[in-house]
């Protein structure tokens, strides 16, 4: 290989682009993770309520989003949803809905699994002492279940963070799409995509290490 590496060529003059790209990636990662978490809590509670009219649609939602590629979801929400609803959604929102719902379906499963992993005896003892369902959830079940939910949730968040790179197909100016633009300008794909990869790594590595620490703590 006879390549003249020149990283300055892709940074000089593009600082603002890169900075904005990283911000957009961080914003989508945190926004869709947070949105997905909220969806997960509500849908997870819906599944636990044991009402078929509540759990049936949630099951459909979870399975549809679990069994279709997230790339298809992003493209579908960007191009198809506005046509079906006959509204004009801003592109950044349409693109984010797909990712958020994708995170939401996994969060739902994480939430549900965390709750039902708590020993039946804990429920029974709380009921026997006279607690109502909301009281025993708040004081007995959730404090224990949340500790178990954290590691899988961090894990899914890491995956979600990386999935935001798929947004480049609908021209959301995230880190990946910025790279694509810089390549178009400089014809230096080697430097650009190596840097993009490194940037994702630098952003995510602390998150995975933090996740490991949490996992160790919840194992105690």
């Amino acid at each position: 290989m006879n390549h003249n590496w020149d990283f300055l060529a892709i940074t000089n003059g593009f600082e603002v682009w890169w900075f904005k790209g990283i911000l957009v990636t961080l914003a989508y990662a945190s926004g869709t993770v947070l949105g997905g978490l909220i969806i997960g809590i509500f849908c997870g509670m819906g599944l636990l309520a044991n009402r078929w009219w509540l759990s049936a649609p949630i099951h459909v939602y979870v399975e549809v989003f679990r069994c279709t590629p997230v790339l298809v979801q992003i493209v579908w929400f960007f191009f198809a949803l506005p046509i079906i609803l006959d509204i004009s959604l801003p592109g950044w929102l349409a693109a984010g809905i797909g990712l958020t719902l994708y995170m939401g379906c996994f969060s739902t499963e994480i939430f549900r699994a965390g709750i039902i992993s708590i020993d039946k005896g804990q429920w029974q003892a709380a009921r026997a002492i006279g607690m109502t369902y909301p009281e025993l959830m708040r004081h007995i079940i959730l404090p224990q279940a949340i500790r178990r939910m954290v590691p899988p949730f961090v894990n899914q968040s890491v995956i979600q963070f990386k999935n935001t790179a798929l947004l480049y197909v609908v021209a959301v100016p995230d880190l990946m799409y910025t790279g694509y633009l810089v390549v178009a300008d400089t014809y230096r794909p080697l430097e650009v995509y190596t840097s993009v990869g490194a940037a994702y790594f630098v952003l995510l590595y602390p998150l995975t290490q933090w996740g490991k620490r949490l996992e160790a703590r919840s194992d105690q």
Partner: protein, 273 residues
């Protein structure tokens, strides 16, 4: 401290029932776990239920505090009457939850809240259900911990306690709610043999102080010494009922005899090992 314990009832053994069951049944689909049981427990009485595994003893206990909803029959607790054939007479939601707190239940597997320390386990019901101020609850909890012989263990988590200690905390947790009746569901069955004694001792003290207790157990010596009434249960029904002497020594009932013989034989085998 004694003023808010079940012991207070002891001074006034009246003719009034604490708990009364009439023709109580519980089935799961086509399986009948409890098949028409009647029982009358007076204040200060200790009723011990014995019988082979799977005979419906635990289910019966769980029907009394409505952890399970009986299929039919009548349950009277104090002046509250519930007819399970008539759904309208049954408590729901918050009323059902609070009804359960009239009983103190202790389980085979202890089931202490594993994220809470010993003292928090005893406080939580008072604080959440009874709305007792935290500091007052802590004081009451400390008294009960002392009473089951565990002062100094306040800040231990359940996993840092032995089985016998956990079960004594569980008894304190039940007592702290000032229940009218205590329900014990095979509370020594999961314990190492050398830890059984400390739990039975606490239960003996409670009985002596006049607590009203319904005890499902395999501890024959406890039944003999403490029970006002021993009931033999088999296949969801009461087979025999009487004093410990009547049932455990003089019984002519073939099903009682068969249970006791099998029980002593297997207990003997364990002892030989």
């Amino acid at each position: 401290m004694t003023s808010n314990t079940p012991a207070a009832a002891a001074n006034a053994v009246t003719e009034k029932s604490m708990v009364q069951l009439e023709a109580l049944r519980k089935s799961y689909g086509s399986v009948e776990a409890v098949r028409g049981v009647s029982l009358d427990v007076r204040p200060g009485q200790v009723v011990v239920i014995i019988g082979p595994s799977g005979c419906g003893k635990s289910t019966l206990l769980r029907c009394i505090n409505l952890l399970e909803e009986p299929t039919s029959g009548i349950l009277r607790v104090g002046d509250r009457t519930m007819d399970f054939s008539n759904k309208k007479s049954l408590p729901v939601g918050r009323e059902l939850a609070r009804f359960r707190s009239r009983f103190g239940m202790v389980f085979q597997q202890f089931d202490l809240f594993s994220h809470k320390t010993a003292i928090e386990n005893i406080m939580i019901g008072q604080v959440v259900v009874r709305k007792t101020p935290v500091e007052q609850a802590r004081k009451i909890a400390r008294d009960y911990l002392d009473r089951v012989g565990l002062s100094g263990m306040e800040d231990r988590l359940p996993r840092e306690l032995s089985g016998g200690q956990q079960q004594r905390v569980a008894i304190a947790r039940a007592l702290a709610m000032s229940p009218e009746v205590l329900l014990f569901d095979e509370v020594t069955s999961a314990l190492d043999p050398e830890l059984v004694g400390e739990v039975l001792e606490v239960m003996r003290d409670l009985a002596k102080e006049g607590a009203t207790m319904i005890v499902v157990t395999h501890e024959m010596a406890f039944a003999r010494d403490v029970a006002d009434r021993v009931i033999v249960m088999d296949q969801g029904q009461f087979v025999e009922e009487g004093t410990a002497q009547d049932v455990m020594v003089n019984s002519q009932n073939p099903r009682t005899q068969s249970f006791l013989t099998r029980f002593h034989r297997s207990a003997g085998e364990v002892a030989e090992k």
